[in-house]
Symmetry: C2
Subunit: 280 residues, 2 copies
Protein backbone atom coordinates (compact mmCIF):
# COMPACT_ATOMS: atom_id res chain seq x y z
CA UNK A 1 0.00 0.00 0.00
CA UNK A 2 1.40 3.44 -0.84
CA UNK A 3 2.42 5.69 2.06
CA UNK A 4 -0.32 8.34 1.90
CA UNK A 5 1.54 10.92 3.99
CA UNK A 6 4.70 10.74 1.90
CA UNK A 7 2.64 10.68 -1.32
CA UNK A 8 0.89 13.89 -0.19
CA UNK A 9 4.29 15.48 0.56
CA UNK A 10 5.51 14.55 -2.94
CA UNK A 11 2.40 16.04 -4.55
CA UNK A 12 2.87 19.19 -2.50
CA UNK A 13 6.46 19.50 -3.73
CA UNK A 14 5.26 18.94 -7.31
CA UNK A 15 2.70 21.71 -6.94
CA UNK A 16 5.35 24.09 -5.63
CA UNK A 17 7.24 23.52 -8.88
CA UNK A 18 4.06 23.80 -10.94
CA UNK A 19 3.25 27.22 -9.49
CA UNK A 20 6.84 28.43 -9.07
CA UNK A 21 6.94 28.28 -5.31
CA UNK A 22 3.37 29.18 -4.36
CA UNK A 23 0.76 26.46 -3.91
CA UNK A 24 -2.85 27.62 -4.43
CA UNK A 25 -4.70 27.97 -1.14
CA UNK A 26 -6.96 25.02 -0.47
CA UNK A 27 -4.98 22.38 -2.29
CA UNK A 28 -3.29 20.93 0.81
CA UNK A 29 -6.54 19.61 2.16
CA UNK A 30 -5.92 15.96 1.40
CA UNK A 31 -7.25 15.70 -2.15
CA UNK A 32 -3.69 16.32 -3.38
CA UNK A 33 -2.62 12.93 -2.08
CA UNK A 34 -4.46 11.19 -4.89
CA UNK A 35 -2.10 9.29 -7.21
CA UNK A 36 -3.84 10.37 -10.41
CA UNK A 37 -3.66 14.04 -9.43
CA UNK A 38 0.03 13.56 -8.70
CA UNK A 39 0.51 12.11 -12.18
CA UNK A 40 -1.32 15.05 -13.77
CA UNK A 41 0.57 17.65 -11.71
CA UNK A 42 4.00 16.32 -12.57
CA UNK A 43 3.50 16.45 -16.35
CA UNK A 44 6.38 17.80 -18.34
CA UNK A 45 7.21 17.66 -22.02
CA UNK A 46 9.95 15.12 -22.71
CA UNK A 47 12.35 15.91 -25.55
CA UNK A 48 15.13 13.44 -24.77
CA UNK A 49 14.38 9.76 -25.24
CA UNK A 50 16.30 6.50 -24.89
CA UNK A 51 16.46 4.02 -27.79
CA UNK A 52 14.00 1.65 -26.12
CA UNK A 53 11.08 1.01 -28.49
CA UNK A 54 7.39 1.63 -27.77
CA UNK A 55 5.69 -1.59 -28.78
CA UNK A 56 2.41 -2.16 -30.58
CA UNK A 57 0.47 -3.29 -27.49
CA UNK A 58 1.46 -0.10 -25.70
CA UNK A 59 0.16 2.07 -28.53
CA UNK A 60 -3.02 -0.01 -28.55
CA UNK A 61 -3.52 0.72 -24.85
CA UNK A 62 -2.82 4.42 -25.43
CA UNK A 63 -5.21 4.71 -28.38
CA UNK A 64 -7.94 2.96 -26.37
CA UNK A 65 -7.50 5.69 -23.75
CA UNK A 66 -7.67 8.35 -26.47
CA UNK A 67 -10.90 6.84 -27.77
CA UNK A 68 -12.36 6.81 -24.25
CA UNK A 69 -12.25 10.62 -24.07
CA UNK A 70 -15.51 12.48 -24.61
CA UNK A 71 -16.31 13.42 -28.20
CA UNK A 72 -18.92 15.88 -29.41
CA UNK A 73 -22.22 13.96 -29.90
CA UNK A 74 -20.18 10.72 -30.18
CA UNK A 75 -19.20 11.85 -33.70
CA UNK A 76 -15.57 10.81 -33.10
CA UNK A 77 -14.47 13.42 -35.63
CA UNK A 78 -10.79 12.54 -35.31
CA UNK A 79 -8.25 9.94 -36.35
CA UNK A 80 -4.70 9.16 -35.32
CA UNK A 81 -1.91 8.20 -37.70
CA UNK A 82 0.85 6.13 -36.15
CA UNK A 83 4.15 6.89 -37.86
CA UNK A 84 7.13 4.58 -37.39
CA UNK A 85 8.92 4.33 -40.76
CA UNK A 86 12.13 6.34 -40.31
CA UNK A 87 11.91 8.05 -43.71
CA UNK A 88 8.38 9.25 -43.03
CA UNK A 89 9.23 10.38 -39.50
CA UNK A 90 12.24 12.22 -40.86
CA UNK A 91 10.16 13.94 -43.55
CA UNK A 92 7.63 15.08 -40.94
CA UNK A 93 10.43 16.29 -38.69
CA UNK A 94 11.90 18.37 -41.52
CA UNK A 95 8.49 19.95 -42.17
CA UNK A 96 7.88 20.57 -38.47
CA UNK A 97 10.69 22.87 -37.42
CA UNK A 98 13.32 20.15 -37.90
CA UNK A 99 13.08 19.17 -34.25
CA UNK A 100 15.31 16.19 -33.49
CA UNK A 101 13.07 14.83 -30.71
CA UNK A 102 10.49 13.92 -33.36
CA UNK A 103 13.02 11.45 -34.79
CA UNK A 104 14.16 10.30 -31.34
CA UNK A 105 10.70 9.40 -30.01
CA UNK A 106 9.81 5.70 -29.91
CA UNK A 107 6.68 6.36 -31.93
CA UNK A 108 5.15 9.46 -33.49
CA UNK A 109 1.39 9.95 -33.54
CA UNK A 110 -0.41 12.58 -35.60
CA UNK A 111 -3.86 13.46 -34.30
CA UNK A 112 -6.10 14.53 -37.12
CA UNK A 113 -9.41 16.41 -37.25
CA UNK A 114 -11.37 13.97 -39.38
CA UNK A 115 -14.54 14.87 -41.27
CA UNK A 116 -13.45 12.67 -44.17
CA UNK A 117 -14.98 9.63 -42.46
CA UNK A 118 -18.45 11.18 -42.06
CA UNK A 119 -18.29 12.63 -45.57
CA UNK A 120 -17.37 9.23 -46.98
CA UNK A 121 -20.26 7.56 -45.13
CA UNK A 122 -22.67 10.24 -46.38
CA UNK A 123 -21.40 9.98 -49.98
CA UNK A 124 -21.82 6.18 -49.91
CA UNK A 125 -25.50 6.81 -49.13
CA UNK A 126 -25.83 9.73 -51.60
CA UNK A 127 -26.55 11.99 -48.60
CA UNK A 128 -25.31 15.60 -48.42
CA UNK A 129 -22.60 16.68 -45.95
CA UNK A 130 -22.88 20.44 -46.23
CA UNK A 131 -22.47 21.13 -42.49
CA UNK A 132 -18.83 20.02 -42.71
CA UNK A 133 -18.09 23.29 -44.51
CA UNK A 134 -18.67 25.49 -41.46
CA UNK A 135 -15.97 26.73 -39.10
CA UNK A 136 -17.92 25.13 -36.24
CA UNK A 137 -17.20 21.70 -37.76
CA UNK A 138 -13.50 22.47 -38.08
CA UNK A 139 -13.46 23.51 -34.42
CA UNK A 140 -15.31 20.35 -33.32
CA UNK A 141 -12.70 18.25 -35.16
CA UNK A 142 -9.85 20.13 -33.51
CA UNK A 143 -11.41 19.89 -30.04
CA UNK A 144 -12.22 16.17 -30.46
CA UNK A 145 -8.64 15.52 -31.57
CA UNK A 146 -7.25 17.52 -28.65
CA UNK A 147 -9.35 15.68 -26.04
CA UNK A 148 -8.22 12.35 -27.48
CA UNK A 149 -4.58 13.44 -27.61
CA UNK A 150 -4.63 14.56 -23.99
CA UNK A 151 -5.98 11.20 -22.86
CA UNK A 152 -3.17 9.60 -24.87
CA UNK A 153 -0.67 11.74 -22.96
CA UNK A 154 -2.08 10.73 -19.57
CA UNK A 155 -2.15 7.06 -20.60
CA UNK A 156 1.45 7.18 -21.84
CA UNK A 157 2.67 8.91 -18.69
CA UNK A 158 0.86 6.38 -16.51
CA UNK A 159 2.95 3.71 -18.28
CA UNK A 160 6.18 5.54 -17.44
CA UNK A 161 6.56 7.02 -20.91
CA UNK A 162 7.26 10.64 -21.81
CA UNK A 163 5.44 12.71 -24.41
CA UNK A 164 5.90 15.89 -26.39
CA UNK A 165 3.26 17.72 -28.39
CA UNK A 166 4.31 18.98 -31.81
CA UNK A 167 2.07 21.83 -32.97
CA UNK A 168 4.46 22.48 -35.82
CA UNK A 169 2.86 19.65 -37.83
CA UNK A 170 0.63 22.61 -38.78
CA UNK A 171 3.58 24.57 -40.28
CA UNK A 172 3.21 22.74 -43.60
CA UNK A 173 -0.13 20.94 -43.32
CA UNK A 174 -0.46 20.23 -47.03
CA UNK A 175 2.84 18.36 -47.20
CA UNK A 176 2.21 16.54 -43.92
CA UNK A 177 -1.23 15.52 -45.20
CA UNK A 178 0.36 14.11 -48.36
CA UNK A 179 2.93 12.11 -46.37
CA UNK A 180 0.08 10.56 -44.36
CA UNK A 181 -2.26 10.12 -47.36
CA UNK A 182 -4.93 12.15 -45.59
CA UNK A 183 -8.09 12.46 -47.66
CA UNK A 184 -9.91 15.74 -48.14
CA UNK A 185 -11.57 16.67 -44.84
CA UNK A 186 -8.78 15.26 -42.63
CA UNK A 187 -6.33 17.80 -41.23
CA UNK A 188 -3.31 17.45 -38.91
CA UNK A 189 -4.03 19.09 -35.53
CA UNK A 190 -1.07 18.10 -33.40
CA UNK A 191 1.75 15.57 -33.36
CA UNK A 192 2.68 13.57 -30.28
CA UNK A 193 6.09 12.04 -29.76
CA UNK A 194 6.04 9.19 -27.23
CA UNK A 195 9.07 7.41 -25.86
CA UNK A 196 11.07 6.32 -22.87
CA UNK A 197 12.46 9.41 -21.12
CA UNK A 198 16.22 9.70 -20.98
CA UNK A 199 17.02 9.51 -17.26
CA UNK A 200 19.86 12.02 -17.83
CA UNK A 201 17.38 14.68 -18.98
CA UNK A 202 17.38 17.54 -16.47
CA UNK A 203 14.18 19.22 -17.70
CA UNK A 204 11.76 19.83 -14.85
CA UNK A 205 8.23 20.98 -14.20
CA UNK A 206 7.58 24.34 -15.85
CA UNK A 207 5.73 26.85 -13.67
CA UNK A 208 2.29 27.98 -14.78
CA UNK A 209 0.45 31.25 -14.15
CA UNK A 210 -1.00 31.61 -10.65
CA UNK A 211 -4.39 30.02 -10.41
CA UNK A 212 -5.85 33.45 -9.58
CA UNK A 213 -5.00 34.62 -13.12
CA UNK A 214 -6.48 31.66 -15.01
CA UNK A 215 -9.48 30.84 -12.79
CA UNK A 216 -12.25 33.40 -12.67
CA UNK A 217 -15.22 33.30 -10.33
CA UNK A 218 -18.57 34.05 -11.98
CA UNK A 219 -17.11 36.83 -14.14
CA UNK A 220 -13.83 37.33 -16.00
CA UNK A 221 -11.27 39.35 -14.06
CA UNK A 222 -8.58 41.05 -16.20
CA UNK A 223 -4.99 40.18 -15.30
CA UNK A 224 -2.95 42.63 -13.24
CA UNK A 225 0.59 43.43 -14.31
CA UNK A 226 2.02 42.69 -10.85
CA UNK A 227 0.71 39.10 -11.07
CA UNK A 228 2.42 38.59 -14.42
CA UNK A 229 5.66 40.16 -13.25
CA UNK A 230 5.83 37.77 -10.28
CA UNK A 231 5.12 34.88 -12.63
CA UNK A 232 7.76 36.07 -15.07
CA UNK A 233 10.28 35.84 -12.22
CA UNK A 234 9.19 32.26 -11.43
CA UNK A 235 9.67 31.30 -15.08
CA UNK A 236 13.11 32.98 -15.10
CA UNK A 237 14.07 31.01 -12.00
CA UNK A 238 12.97 27.78 -13.73
CA UNK A 239 14.95 28.50 -16.89
CA UNK A 240 18.05 29.33 -14.78
CA UNK A 241 17.95 25.69 -13.61
CA UNK A 242 18.08 24.79 -17.34
CA UNK A 243 21.02 27.15 -17.97
CA UNK A 244 18.78 29.48 -19.99
CA UNK A 245 18.11 33.19 -19.53
CA UNK A 246 14.48 33.77 -20.46
CA UNK A 247 11.18 34.79 -18.97
CA UNK A 248 7.57 34.41 -20.03
CA UNK A 249 6.34 37.83 -21.07
CA UNK A 250 8.87 38.39 -23.85
CA UNK A 251 7.81 35.13 -25.47
CA UNK A 252 4.14 36.07 -25.34
CA UNK A 253 4.78 39.51 -26.82
CA UNK A 254 6.90 38.00 -29.62
CA UNK A 255 4.18 35.44 -30.41
CA UNK A 256 1.36 37.98 -30.71
CA UNK A 257 3.26 40.90 -32.27
CA UNK A 258 2.73 40.00 -35.93
CA UNK A 259 2.34 37.04 -38.21
CA UNK A 260 6.07 36.24 -38.15
CA UNK A 261 5.42 34.53 -34.78
CA UNK A 262 3.12 32.03 -36.50
CA UNK A 263 5.82 30.09 -38.42
CA UNK A 264 3.87 30.19 -41.66
CA UNK A 265 0.57 29.35 -40.02
CA UNK A 266 -0.97 32.73 -40.92
CA UNK A 267 -2.19 30.84 -44.01
CA UNK A 268 -4.14 28.34 -41.87
CA UNK A 269 -7.53 29.36 -43.24
CA UNK A 270 -6.44 28.82 -46.84
CA UNK A 271 -4.72 25.55 -45.86
CA UNK A 272 -7.90 24.24 -44.24
CA UNK A 273 -9.98 25.21 -47.26
CA UNK A 274 -7.50 23.52 -49.58
CA UNK A 275 -7.74 20.38 -47.46
CA UNK A 276 -11.54 20.25 -47.75
CA UNK A 277 -12.47 22.14 -44.58
CA UNK A 278 -13.95 25.38 -45.92
CA UNK A 279 -14.30 26.78 -42.38
CA UNK A 280 -16.83 29.38 -43.41
CA UNK B 1 -2.22 -3.59 -2.20
CA UNK B 2 -4.68 -3.90 -5.07
CA UNK B 3 -5.30 -7.35 -6.52
CA UNK B 4 -3.60 -7.04 -9.90
CA UNK B 5 -5.35 -10.05 -11.46
CA UNK B 6 -8.84 -8.86 -10.53
CA UNK B 7 -7.96 -5.28 -11.54
CA UNK B 8 -6.88 -6.57 -14.96
CA UNK B 9 -10.14 -8.52 -15.25
CA UNK B 10 -12.13 -5.34 -14.45
CA UNK B 11 -10.20 -3.35 -17.04
CA UNK B 12 -10.82 -6.08 -19.57
CA UNK B 13 -14.57 -5.93 -18.86
CA UNK B 14 -14.47 -2.14 -19.20
CA UNK B 15 -12.76 -2.42 -22.56
CA UNK B 16 -15.37 -4.89 -23.79
CA UNK B 17 -18.00 -2.21 -23.07
CA UNK B 18 -15.84 0.48 -24.62
CA UNK B 19 -15.54 -1.40 -27.90
CA UNK B 20 -18.98 -2.98 -27.84
CA UNK B 21 -17.82 -6.52 -27.16
CA UNK B 22 -14.53 -6.70 -29.02
CA UNK B 23 -11.29 -5.80 -27.25
CA UNK B 24 -8.47 -4.62 -29.55
CA UNK B 25 -5.85 -7.29 -30.02
CA UNK B 26 -2.79 -6.68 -27.90
CA UNK B 27 -4.45 -4.89 -25.05
CA UNK B 28 -4.60 -7.92 -22.73
CA UNK B 29 -0.86 -8.08 -22.40
CA UNK B 30 -0.66 -6.72 -18.88
CA UNK B 31 -0.53 -2.98 -19.50
CA UNK B 32 -4.31 -2.92 -19.09
CA UNK B 33 -3.98 -3.64 -15.38
CA UNK B 34 -2.78 -0.12 -14.75
CA UNK B 35 -5.17 1.85 -12.52
CA UNK B 36 -4.90 5.08 -14.49
CA UNK B 37 -5.73 3.31 -17.73
CA UNK B 38 -8.74 1.74 -16.02
CA UNK B 39 -9.90 5.21 -14.96
CA UNK B 40 -9.52 6.53 -18.51
CA UNK B 41 -11.26 3.53 -20.07
CA UNK B 42 -14.30 3.72 -17.85
CA UNK B 43 -15.09 7.37 -18.61
CA UNK B 44 -18.72 8.19 -19.23
CA UNK B 45 -20.62 11.45 -19.32
CA UNK B 46 -22.66 11.93 -16.15
CA UNK B 47 -25.95 13.79 -16.49
CA UNK B 48 -27.58 12.88 -13.18
CA UNK B 49 -26.06 14.32 -10.03
CA UNK B 50 -26.84 14.22 -6.31
CA UNK B 51 -27.25 17.45 -4.31
CA UNK B 52 -23.84 17.04 -2.66
CA UNK B 53 -21.78 20.20 -3.31
CA UNK B 54 -18.36 20.36 -4.98
CA UNK B 55 -16.27 22.47 -2.63
CA UNK B 56 -13.73 25.15 -3.38
CA UNK B 57 -10.67 23.02 -2.53
CA UNK B 58 -11.83 20.36 -4.97
CA UNK B 59 -12.14 22.88 -7.80
CA UNK B 60 -8.70 24.20 -6.86
CA UNK B 61 -7.25 20.70 -7.22
CA UNK B 62 -9.05 20.23 -10.54
CA UNK B 63 -7.90 23.57 -11.98
CA UNK B 64 -4.32 22.80 -10.94
CA UNK B 65 -4.60 19.63 -13.02
CA UNK B 66 -6.03 21.62 -15.93
CA UNK B 67 -3.11 24.03 -15.72
CA UNK B 68 -0.66 21.12 -15.70
CA UNK B 69 -1.69 20.10 -19.21
CA UNK B 70 0.60 21.06 -22.05
CA UNK B 71 -0.05 24.43 -23.66
CA UNK B 72 1.28 25.71 -26.98
CA UNK B 73 4.63 27.47 -26.31
CA UNK B 74 3.53 27.89 -22.66
CA UNK B 75 1.24 30.69 -23.85
CA UNK B 76 -1.60 29.39 -21.66
CA UNK B 77 -4.11 30.91 -24.08
CA UNK B 78 -7.12 29.83 -22.03
CA UNK B 79 -9.06 30.69 -18.90
CA UNK B 80 -11.76 28.98 -16.91
CA UNK B 81 -14.82 30.67 -15.42
CA UNK B 82 -16.28 28.94 -12.39
CA UNK B 83 -20.04 29.52 -12.28
CA UNK B 84 -21.99 28.79 -9.10
CA UNK B 85 -24.61 31.54 -8.73
CA UNK B 86 -27.93 29.83 -9.52
CA UNK B 87 -29.27 32.69 -11.64
CA UNK B 88 -26.16 32.73 -13.83
CA UNK B 89 -26.10 28.93 -14.14
CA UNK B 90 -29.76 29.00 -15.09
CA UNK B 91 -29.20 31.70 -17.71
CA UNK B 92 -26.35 29.67 -19.24
CA UNK B 93 -28.50 26.54 -19.21
CA UNK B 94 -31.30 28.34 -21.05
CA UNK B 95 -28.82 29.52 -23.70
CA UNK B 96 -27.25 26.06 -23.99
CA UNK B 97 -30.08 23.82 -25.12
CA UNK B 98 -31.89 24.18 -21.77
CA UNK B 99 -30.25 21.03 -20.46
CA UNK B 100 -31.26 20.39 -16.86
CA UNK B 101 -27.98 18.68 -15.94
CA UNK B 102 -26.22 22.05 -16.26
CA UNK B 103 -28.33 23.27 -13.31
CA UNK B 104 -27.95 19.99 -11.42
CA UNK B 105 -24.15 19.85 -11.51
CA UNK B 106 -22.31 20.80 -8.31
CA UNK B 107 -20.29 23.40 -10.19
CA UNK B 108 -20.22 24.57 -13.80
CA UNK B 109 -16.94 25.52 -15.46
CA UNK B 110 -16.67 27.33 -18.78
CA UNK B 111 -13.34 26.82 -20.54
CA UNK B 112 -12.49 29.83 -22.63
CA UNK B 113 -10.02 30.42 -25.47
CA UNK B 114 -8.27 33.47 -24.08
CA UNK B 115 -6.23 35.89 -26.19
CA UNK B 116 -7.58 38.82 -24.15
CA UNK B 117 -4.82 38.30 -21.58
CA UNK B 118 -1.96 38.48 -24.08
CA UNK B 119 -3.59 41.42 -25.86
CA UNK B 120 -3.99 43.25 -22.56
CA UNK B 121 -0.32 42.65 -21.67
CA UNK B 122 0.74 43.87 -25.13
CA UNK B 123 -1.48 46.97 -24.94
CA UNK B 124 -0.05 47.86 -21.51
CA UNK B 125 3.37 47.96 -23.18
CA UNK B 126 2.12 49.71 -26.35
CA UNK B 127 3.10 46.60 -28.31
CA UNK B 128 1.09 45.30 -31.26
CA UNK B 129 -0.87 42.03 -31.08
CA UNK B 130 -1.69 41.53 -34.75
CA UNK B 131 -1.06 37.77 -34.76
CA UNK B 132 -4.15 37.24 -32.59
CA UNK B 133 -6.28 38.01 -35.66
CA UNK B 134 -5.36 34.80 -37.52
CA UNK B 135 -7.39 31.60 -37.48
CA UNK B 136 -4.27 29.78 -36.23
CA UNK B 137 -4.51 31.79 -32.99
CA UNK B 138 -8.19 30.94 -32.56
CA UNK B 139 -7.31 27.25 -33.05
CA UNK B 140 -4.46 27.42 -30.53
CA UNK B 141 -6.85 28.92 -27.97
CA UNK B 142 -9.41 26.19 -28.62
CA UNK B 143 -6.81 23.41 -28.41
CA UNK B 144 -5.23 24.86 -25.25
CA UNK B 145 -8.68 25.10 -23.63
CA UNK B 146 -9.53 21.52 -24.68
CA UNK B 147 -6.30 20.04 -23.30
CA UNK B 148 -6.90 21.83 -19.99
CA UNK B 149 -10.55 20.75 -19.86
CA UNK B 150 -9.64 17.12 -20.46
CA UNK B 151 -7.16 17.15 -17.58
CA UNK B 152 -9.94 18.66 -15.45
CA UNK B 153 -12.17 15.73 -16.41
CA UNK B 154 -9.53 13.14 -15.45
CA UNK B 155 -8.83 14.94 -12.17
CA UNK B 156 -12.53 15.13 -11.30
CA UNK B 157 -13.09 11.46 -12.12
CA UNK B 158 -10.08 10.45 -10.04
CA UNK B 159 -11.84 12.14 -7.10
CA UNK B 160 -14.99 10.10 -7.68
CA UNK B 161 -16.86 12.93 -9.39
CA UNK B 162 -18.73 12.79 -12.68
CA UNK B 163 -18.46 15.25 -15.55
CA UNK B 164 -20.35 16.28 -18.65
CA UNK B 165 -19.06 18.47 -21.46
CA UNK B 166 -21.45 21.10 -22.77
CA UNK B 167 -20.54 22.15 -26.30
CA UNK B 168 -23.80 24.06 -26.54
CA UNK B 169 -22.25 27.00 -24.67
CA UNK B 170 -21.29 27.83 -28.27
CA UNK B 171 -24.96 28.01 -29.37
CA UNK B 172 -25.21 31.63 -28.21
CA UNK B 173 -21.61 32.65 -27.56
CA UNK B 174 -22.31 36.38 -27.49
CA UNK B 175 -24.87 36.09 -24.69
CA UNK B 176 -22.76 33.57 -22.75
CA UNK B 177 -19.77 35.91 -23.06
CA UNK B 178 -21.85 38.78 -21.65
CA UNK B 179 -23.01 36.67 -18.69
CA UNK B 180 -19.38 35.88 -17.89
CA UNK B 181 -18.10 39.42 -18.62
CA UNK B 182 -15.65 38.00 -21.14
CA UNK B 183 -13.50 40.72 -22.70
CA UNK B 184 -12.88 40.92 -26.44
CA UNK B 185 -10.54 38.07 -27.39
CA UNK B 186 -12.00 35.57 -24.91
CA UNK B 187 -14.47 33.04 -26.32
CA UNK B 188 -16.37 30.12 -24.72
CA UNK B 189 -15.06 26.78 -26.03
CA UNK B 190 -16.82 24.22 -23.87
CA UNK B 191 -18.69 24.01 -20.60
CA UNK B 192 -18.04 21.30 -18.02
CA UNK B 193 -20.57 20.27 -15.41
CA UNK B 194 -18.97 18.53 -12.41
CA UNK B 195 -20.80 16.84 -9.60
CA UNK B 196 -21.38 13.73 -7.56
CA UNK B 197 -22.91 11.03 -9.76
CA UNK B 198 -26.37 9.85 -8.82
CA UNK B 199 -25.87 6.16 -7.90
CA UNK B 200 -29.30 5.40 -9.43
CA UNK B 201 -28.11 6.54 -12.87
CA UNK B 202 -28.05 3.56 -15.22
CA UNK B 203 -25.97 5.20 -17.99
CA UNK B 204 -23.04 3.02 -18.95
CA UNK B 205 -19.90 3.08 -21.07
CA UNK B 206 -20.73 4.06 -24.64
CA UNK B 207 -19.03 1.95 -27.31
CA UNK B 208 -16.55 3.65 -29.64
CA UNK B 209 -15.54 2.82 -33.21
CA UNK B 210 -13.19 -0.17 -33.56
CA UNK B 211 -9.60 0.86 -33.10
CA UNK B 212 -8.91 -0.30 -36.67
CA UNK B 213 -11.13 2.55 -37.95
CA UNK B 214 -9.62 5.37 -35.91
CA UNK B 215 -5.95 4.28 -35.79
CA UNK B 216 -4.08 4.33 -39.09
CA UNK B 217 -0.61 2.92 -39.63
CA UNK B 218 1.72 5.20 -41.63
CA UNK B 219 -1.04 6.22 -44.05
CA UNK B 220 -4.75 6.99 -43.71
CA UNK B 221 -7.00 4.06 -44.53
CA UNK B 222 -10.58 4.97 -45.55
CA UNK B 223 -13.32 3.38 -43.48
CA UNK B 224 -15.17 0.35 -44.85
CA UNK B 225 -18.95 0.24 -44.61
CA UNK B 226 -18.93 -3.21 -42.98
CA UNK B 227 -16.87 -1.86 -40.08
CA UNK B 228 -19.35 0.93 -39.50
CA UNK B 229 -22.34 -1.37 -39.78
CA UNK B 230 -20.90 -3.67 -37.10
CA UNK B 231 -20.26 -0.63 -34.91
CA UNK B 232 -23.77 0.69 -35.50
CA UNK B 233 -25.08 -2.61 -34.10
CA UNK B 234 -22.90 -2.26 -30.98
CA UNK B 235 -24.25 1.26 -30.42
CA UNK B 236 -27.82 -0.01 -30.89
CA UNK B 237 -27.18 -2.73 -28.33
CA UNK B 238 -25.88 -0.11 -25.88
CA UNK B 239 -28.89 2.17 -26.34
CA UNK B 240 -31.23 -0.79 -25.87
CA UNK B 241 -29.83 -1.07 -22.31
CA UNK B 242 -30.91 2.59 -21.92
CA UNK B 243 -34.40 1.85 -23.28
CA UNK B 244 -33.62 3.83 -26.43
CA UNK B 245 -33.85 2.78 -30.05
CA UNK B 246 -31.01 4.48 -31.90
CA UNK B 247 -27.79 3.73 -33.72
CA UNK B 248 -24.73 5.76 -34.66
CA UNK B 249 -24.85 6.29 -38.40
CA UNK B 250 -28.19 8.11 -38.49
CA UNK B 251 -26.88 10.63 -35.97
CA UNK B 252 -23.75 11.27 -38.01
CA UNK B 253 -25.73 11.73 -41.24
CA UNK B 254 -28.15 14.13 -39.50
CA UNK B 255 -25.26 16.15 -38.07
CA UNK B 256 -23.44 16.62 -41.38
CA UNK B 257 -26.46 16.95 -43.72
CA UNK B 258 -26.90 20.71 -43.53
CA UNK B 259 -26.50 23.63 -41.19
CA UNK B 260 -29.64 22.75 -39.23
CA UNK B 261 -27.54 20.15 -37.37
CA UNK B 262 -25.32 22.94 -36.01
CA UNK B 263 -27.88 24.45 -33.57
CA UNK B 264 -27.16 27.99 -34.72
CA UNK B 265 -23.42 27.50 -34.78
CA UNK B 266 -23.21 27.98 -38.54
CA UNK B 267 -22.58 31.63 -37.58
CA UNK B 268 -19.44 30.71 -35.60
CA UNK B 269 -17.09 32.65 -37.82
CA UNK B 270 -19.09 35.88 -37.42
CA UNK B 271 -19.47 35.23 -33.68
CA UNK B 272 -15.70 34.85 -33.26
CA UNK B 273 -15.05 38.02 -35.22
CA UNK B 274 -17.57 39.92 -33.15
CA UNK B 275 -15.83 38.69 -29.99
CA UNK B 276 -12.44 39.99 -31.13
CA UNK B 277 -11.10 36.84 -32.79
CA UNK B 278 -11.04 37.78 -36.47
CA UNK B 279 -9.96 34.22 -37.44
CA UNK B 280 -8.69 35.29 -40.83
Amino acid sequence: MPDVASSAATTDATLRERYGGEVPVGIRSGVGSDDVLALLYRHRSVRRFTDEPVDDATVTAIVAAAQSAATSSNLQAWSVIEVREPARVDAIARLSGDQQFIRDAGVFLVFVADWARARHLAADRSAPADAVDYLESTLVGFVDAALAAQNAVIAAESLGLGTVYVGSVRNAPQQVAELLALPSGAFPVVGLGIGHPDPADAAGIKPRLPQSVVRHRERYRPVESAEVERYDEAVRAYYRTQQQDRGWLQGVLARVRDRSGLHGRHTMRAALRRRGLASR
